[in-house]
Symmetry: C2
Subunit: 214 residues, 2 copies
C-alpha cells in the first residue's frame, strides 16, 4: 500500500510531504513548486490537487509538520532542564533558535500568513501544543500551575501574564528571525549560546521578581 506500483500511489499525500521537505532542504523555498514536488514523488503535475487543493494547502501541511518538529525540539531540550527555572528558560530559547537554524524553511513558512492557512482563533492541536509549551515555561517561572494545551491557547489571560509570555516569546522569536534573515551577522555564532543564556537569566529573574511582588 506504500510503494508505487502503477497509477494509484497508495500514500501520495505523505509522499508529497516528504518530497516537499526534501525540496525545501535542498533548494529552499525558491525551489519549491507544486510541480517539482509531483515530479519528485513520481506522479503527474496535477496529482497533488486532489490531496491538498492548491499550493497553500500543501504548504499548510508542511507548516504543521514544522510545528511537530518544533514542539518535539522544545520538549527534548526541556527534558534536560527540569528543576532550575533559569535553565528551563535557556533550554526553551535554545530549542526555539535551534529549530529555526535546523529547519530554516519550515520556520519561514510557519510564520508566513500568506503561505499558510491556519485559523489561529481555532488552531490545530499541534499548534496548541507548541503554544502551550511556551506558555507553561512562563507559568512555571511565575510559580503557577501549568495548563493543558487546549486551555492554554483559548483561555483569556491576565495582561500581566501575557506581558510575561511575550517577554520570552518575542525575544526568542525576534532573535531567531533576525538571525535567520542575516541581520545578526555582527553577533558571532559561537557567542550565541552565551547571549541566550545571559538574556534568559535576566528575563527569568525579571519575571520571577514581578511574580513575587504580586
Amino acid at each position: 500500500m506504500a510503494a508505487r506500483n502503477s497509477y494509484h500511489h497508495g500514500d501520495l499525500a505523505n509522499a508529497l510531504l516528504d518530497a516537499a521537505d526534501d525540496l525545501l532542504e535542498e533548494e529552499g523555498l525558491g525551489g519549491f513548486t507544486l510541480r517539482a514536488c509531483a515530479r519528485r514523488a513520481g506522479v503527474s503535475h496535477a496529482a497533488p490537487k486532489h490531496h491538498f487543493g492548491d499550493v497553500q494547502g500543501l504548504l499548510t501541511a508542511v507548516a504543521l509538520r514544522g510545528y511537530d518538529r518544533l514542539v518535539a525540539t522544545l520538549r527534548a531540550q526541556l527534558a534536560q532542564a527540569h528543576g532550575d527555572l533559569e535553565d528551563e528558560m535557556f533550554a526553551t530559547a535554545k530549542a526555539y533558535v535551534q529549530f529555526a537554524q535546523d529547519n530554516p524553511e519550515h520556520f519561514r513558512i510557519m510564520f508566513r500568513a500568506d503561505l499558510v492557512a491556519i485559523d489561529m482563533s481555532c488552531p490545530p492541536p499541534t499548534v496548541q501544543a507548541t503554544f502551550a509549551e511556551l506558555t507553561n515555561v512562563i507559568l512555571r517561572q511565575r510559580g503557577e500551575a501549568v495548563l493543558e494545551p487546549a486551555v492554554a491557547m483559548g483561555q483569556a489571560k491576565s495582561a500581566a501574564l501575557i506581558d510575561d509570555i511575550l517577554l520570552g516569546w518575542c525575544h526568542v522569536h525576534g532573535y531567531a528571525h533576525l538571525r535567520l534573515e542575516g541581520q545578526l551577522d555582527m553577533v558571532p555564532r559561537d557567542a550565541e549560546n552565551d547571549h541566550l543564556r545571559a538574556t534568559c537569566a535576566r528575563l527569568s529573574g525579571l519575571i520571577q521578581a514581578y511574580a513575587q511582588a504580586r
Copy 2:
C-alpha cells in the same frame, strides 16, 4: 524630463518604485510582479530590466525605501520623548511596531534575505542609520555616549552591549513580526500600547540596573 511623452520616460526608475509601492499597498506581495509594475508605470514588460536588472534588484530598492521610512518613523517618535529614558524606549518600540503595521509589505521585504540583496557586512547608509538609531537608544539607557551611524554598525562591541541591544531589538522585532503574521491575535489591539509600555519599562529598568552595577 519627468512626464511620459514617448519612448523615453525620463524618470522610469522612480516611477517603477512608486508603482511598486502602490502595488504592494493595494495587492500585497502576492500581487507584486515586475510586469505589473511595468504596466502601472506605462512601459513595456521588459523596461525594468535596464534599471534594476531583475526582480531582486527592484525589491532591494523597495527595501531601501522601507529603511528610509523606518528611520524617519523612529526619529519622529524619539523627538517627542527626549529626556526620560523609559519614554525613549517606549517611543522606539512604538515606532518600530507602528512602522510594521503601516508598511507591512515593506517590513516583510526588508527582512526577507531571499528577496533582497543587501550586504549586511557593508550596509548602505540608510541601513546604517536605522541600526544606529536603535543602538543609540540602548547606549543612552546605559548612560554612554552615542555613536555615528558608520561606526555604530561597524565597530566591534562588547558582549554586554550586544546583549542589551538585542534585548531591546529582538523583543520589538519579534513582537512586530508575530503581530504582522497573525500570531498575536489573542492580544487585543487596544492593549498593544499598554503591553509595549509595560515591557519597555521593565527592559529599560533592567538595562539601567546592569549598567549601574558595572
